[in-house]
């Protein structure tokens, strides 16, 4: 089975939010909540000023804290490493929302918890996630982490620097950030799943 992962090259992201719009449309995400958002950070004082766009979403952790807390098994990890919610068995208790360190889950008004699925419905048809396909700067790569020739594996190998969000949480995210500017250093390397 593949082990799906995504990499986002922060040196190439221009914060256009095309990925966020594509996600919203593709997945019919309700108003008021987001599966994907762009964080814009500005640091420093003129003339020593830096700025960074960072798209954020569910990281499909290898050790997801949101899964074991689910009382019905609706939150689960698929054989190919996707962290998903089965809407049919979700009771919308919010335990997974509380457990997620990345604020990536939300209550869908239709009565279950929603989150990024890496567009599983597209993956099974051999397509890329909507955010990856839409990105005009090609800063997003997606694929099988166990395949050394996949786009994501090659992008990670070629990167000057690889970071994950909140490595101290021990979640081993499968969404990684490449080439983070030094002053926005997220974390030490070596936290890859």
């Amino acid at each position: 089975m593949p082990r799906y992962a995504m990499a986002i090259d922060l040196a190439a992201c221009v914060g256009c939010a095309a990925c966020a719009v594509a996600c919203k449309l593709e997945n019919e995400v309700p108003a008021g909540v987001d599966r994907l958002w762009i964080r814009l950070e500005e640091r420093g004082t003129f003339p020593d000023l830096a700025m960074q766009y960072r798209p954020e979403q569910c990281l499909h952790c290898a050790e997801p804290p949101c899964v074991p807390v689910c009382p019905t098994g609706a939150s689960h990890v698929t054989a190919d490493g996707l962290v998903l919610v089965d809407a049919e068995t979700c009771i919308a208790c919010g335990a997974c929302i509380a457990a997620c360190p990345y604020d990536a889950r939300y209550f869908d008004p239709r009565g279950f918890v929603g989150k990024c699925t890496f567009c599983e419905h597209r993956i099974v048809q051999g397509q890329l996630p909507a955010c990856v396909e839409t990105c005009p700067t090609l800063c997003r790569t997606f694929g099988d982490l166990d395949d050394p020739e996949s786009d994501v594996s090659r992008a990670i190998r070629a990167a000057r620097r690889v970071d994950v969000l909140k490595p101290e949480q021990g979640t081993r995210p499968k969404l990684v950030y490449l080439n983070t500017p030094a002053r926005f250093g997220l974390a030490a390397e070596g936290a890859l799943p």
Binding site: A17, A20, L36, L40, E41, I91, A92, G94
Partner: protein, 270 residues
């Protein structure tokens, strides 16, 4: 941008960082304590061979039904009837799964005890287990969230102690006079654990200290008042048992509710 060093964060879209549990969940965290605590009292009475009428187990059952009704009413999934999967799945790593079985078991056992059917001591022993689950599970639910610094492992003890205090304090108000000493002890334990909780945050890493500052900023005075109410109440038990019980219950309800409400914050930064 000139002048002072700056760090500004803005968003296109937004992380889902707003509070996810609102007042009905806070109410549930109180009601489950009352229901579990009264059910535990029923179990104790049944095991000790003490005389009690159908009213006490019926009260426990009514409280459980009320609590489950609040949970159902506030759930976004209430019309989808997915709650049945709580009992069709096996999820022992989930505190809520244990809590569901604790409440369902307690409901069945208190019904049997109220009706006077079957072995009273046997049901009492089982009820001891299921009501304990109902009391323990809120602390387990909160302490499982490592990313939320105000929900520390100390809540594993603080929540059942204050839960039992609320239930038995109310029972004392309703005339269960023999619970006076227990209520006093629980109130002291609740205040001490609250102090320990604050000390633990103050002595913890940067994230814990920032969380403590956040708690203080949001509701520090109220939390201090809640702990003070629990601390003072044992001193009033002998002369003014009703006032003492009221103070203890109010302090415990306030402290629990503040921790659930404010503890939802992710941190740092706040």
């Amino acid at each position: 941008m000139t002048g002072a060093a700056a760090s500004i964060t803005t968003f296109y879209g937004a992380p889902n960082s707003a509070a996810f549990w609102h007042w009905p969940t806070l109410l549930h965290f109180v009601l489950v304590a009352v229901a579990g605590g009264v059910a535990l009292l029923v179990a104790y009475r049944a095991l000790s061979g003490a005389r009690f009428t159908w009213r006490l187990p019926a009260l426990a059952l009514a409280l459980i039904v009320l609590d489950l009704g609040v949970l159902w009413g506030e759930s976004l999934a209430r019309w989808r009837l997915t709650h049945v999967y709580l009992f069709l799945s096996f999820q022992p790593a989930s505190a809520i799964w244990w809590g569901a079985w604790g409440l369902a078991g307690s409901a069945a056992l208190t019904a049997l005890l109220a009706l006077g059917w079957g072995p009273r001591r046997g049901w009492g022993a089982l009820l001891l287990v299921t009501s304990s689950l109902a009391l323990l599970y809120p602390g387990l639910v909160l302490a499982a969230n490592a990313a939320r610094p105000l929900w520390t492992p100390l809540l594993l003890v603080f929540m059942p102690v204050t839960g039992l205090l609320i239930a038995w304090g109310l029972a004392l108000l309703l005339g269960q006079r023999d619970l006076g000493v227990a209520v006093g002890a629980l109130a002291l334990a609740g205040a001490a654990l609250g102090g320990l909780y604050l000390a633990g945050l103050a002595a913890g890493p940067g994230g814990a200290r920032a969380a403590l500052e956040h708690l203080w900023h949001e509701a520090g005075v109220w939390f201090a008042l809640a702990l003070a109410a629990m601390l003072v109440s044992p001193a009033l038990l002998r002369r003014y048992p009703a006032v003492a019980a009221l103070l203890a219950v109010a302090g415990a309800v306030l402290a629990r509710s503040l921790l659930v409400e404010i503890g939802q914050v992710m941190g740092p930064p706040f």
